[in-house]
């Protein structure tokens, strides 16, 4: 079972840290946290200005990918279930990105992990996959250079990943 993480990310706006029961926590009680986030998404979905602040375009794309994956589950037995904790962490990751960094393109891996990707010129990309245990597997390509690894989600966004995302500004 994933442990509770206390969020201390300075870039995370206040409205993202207020949950139904607790502030500044991603909890194992995924139903409450996600319900609150979905309500916020509903409040912002018609606003283009707020969607730039809240990155709700990216969050909406994440929801679209989850919905399509869930539909696929009805037919394709090899697809994995999406763990709610993975979605919580992905929402947190997207929301906590420093303002000057771009939105990711969102998706769901076949195994049910949530993926966030950034693309530059041809041959330049970063892809990371967030699991229900809080593990983030990533791969980075830039021409002949490449890097890969796995990082566990902590109280703040992993510095190495933030640095890599920064290369797509």
């Amino acid at each position: 079972m994933p442990t509770t993480i206390r969020l201390t990310e300075p870039h995370l706006p206040v409205f993202m840290t207020i949950g139904a029961d607790d502030a500044y926590r991603i909890t194992e009680d995924h139903t409450q946290e996600l319900r609150y986030t979905m309500e916020l998404l509903r409040a912002w979905q018609f606003s283009d200005a707020l969607s730039n602040i809240t990155r709700s375009h990216a969050l909406g794309a994440l929801m679209a990918a989850c919905a399509e994956h869930n539909q696929g589950l009805r037919h394709e037995a090899t697809l994995g279930l999406i763990h709610p904790y993975a979605v919580q962490l992905a929402i947190y990751f997207i929301s906590a990105l420093p303002k000057e960094l771009p939105d990711p393109e969102c998706g769901v891996d076949r195994d049910g992990e949530v993926n966030l990707e950034w693309f530059g010129a041809k041959g330049h990309l970063l892809t990371l996959s967030i699991s229900g245990t809080g593990r983030i597997a990533y791969a980075y390509l830039h021409g002949d250079q490449h890097e890969r690894g796995a990082i566990r989600m902590q109280e703040q966004l992993p510095a190495r990943l933030v640095e890599l995302v920064g290369r797509f500004k």
Binding site: P10, H11, L12, P13, V14, F15, I18, H30, T31, L34, R35, M38, L41, R42, Q45, F46, S47, D48, A49, L50, I53, G60, M63, A64, C66, A67, E68, N70, L81, I82, H83, P84, Y85, A86, V87, K99, G132
Partner: protein, 249 residues
């Protein structure tokens, strides 16, 4: 004679987005193909329409089964963005939502366009009734830090109040005020929130949304919007003091 506060135009207006919403019920046309045909014919001057969906989280875990995030998409209509990307029209099964981004042309210029879009919406969806109208002003402005300090009450009439203490400092806030005008049947919400501070300023969002049930069809819709427009400006002016308003001059 007092100048109506709603007619004051600020050179550096804080409005970053204004959203007009007509919520409807019981559309007679549900076939999105037919809707798409009507809209494509009438909505000229926009980029290609995008399907617009709402997302609903469904049950997460059943009994002892594995935890699962389940969400369903419901395509409810189409989103039209103008070529300059300053203006968005959502034509939806359950209503019409029209956004203007900065620079906001003003209520007087937007209302005729809204009336035109409403006619298109009626032709495309043939709704049985209007449930509610709402008007939302999303304002964003920066309050200056003075040697990394800021007293919010110097600019805001609403907002956080924190007694001075060496051990307790305020870093951010998110406040929602539930407001109403019983006589006019207006319900509203003012959301005031801070964004992460930058070097010499604190960005603030003041999101004022007002809504009402229109007293009838046709012209009553537009007099309803007039009332919401006036009320929104009253809330705006109550929320900020003169020193804050000077930032918009």
């Amino acid at each position: 004679m007092d100048v109506k506060k709603s007619t004051i135009k600020y050179p550096k207006s804080p409005a970053v987005e204004v959203i007009y919403h007509v919520q409807t019920a019981l559309p007679q046309v549900g076939d999105m193909g037919e809707v798409s045909r009507v809209l494509t014919k009438e909505m000229k001057g926009f980029l290609a329409p995008e399907p617009f969906s709402l997302y609903k989280q469904t049950m997460g875990t059943t009994g002892n089964g594995p935890a699962q995030f389940q969400v369903e998409a419901d395509q409810t209509g189409f989103k039209f963005t103008d070529k300059a990307k300053q203006h968005v029209v959502h034509m939806l099964r359950n209503g019409l939502v029209v956004n203007w981004l900065k620079p906001y042309p003003g209520y007087g210029k937007c209302l005729p366009k809204l009336k035109g879009y409403w006619k298109t919406h009626e032709r495309a969806f043939q709704p049985d009734q209007v449930e509610r109208i709402s008007l939302r002003y999303i304002n964003q402005f920066d309050l200056p830090l003075d040697q990394k300090r800021l007293r919010f009450r110097d600019y805001l009439n609403i907002g956080p109040r924190m007694p001075t203490s060496a051990g307790v400092k305020l870093r951010g806030f998110h406040q929602v005020l539930d407001l109403y005008n019983a006589e006019k049947g207006i319900q509203g919400r003012a959301t005031l929130m801070s964004l992460p501070p930058q070097n010499d300023k604190v960005p603030i969002v003041l999101d004022i949304e007002s809504s009402m049930k229109p007293i009838g069809p046709g012209p009553a819709l537009w007099t309803g919007f007039d009332a919401l427009h006036e009320w929104s400006h009253e809330v705006f002016n109550l929320s900020l003091n003169d020193r804050c308003r000077q930032l918009f001059d």
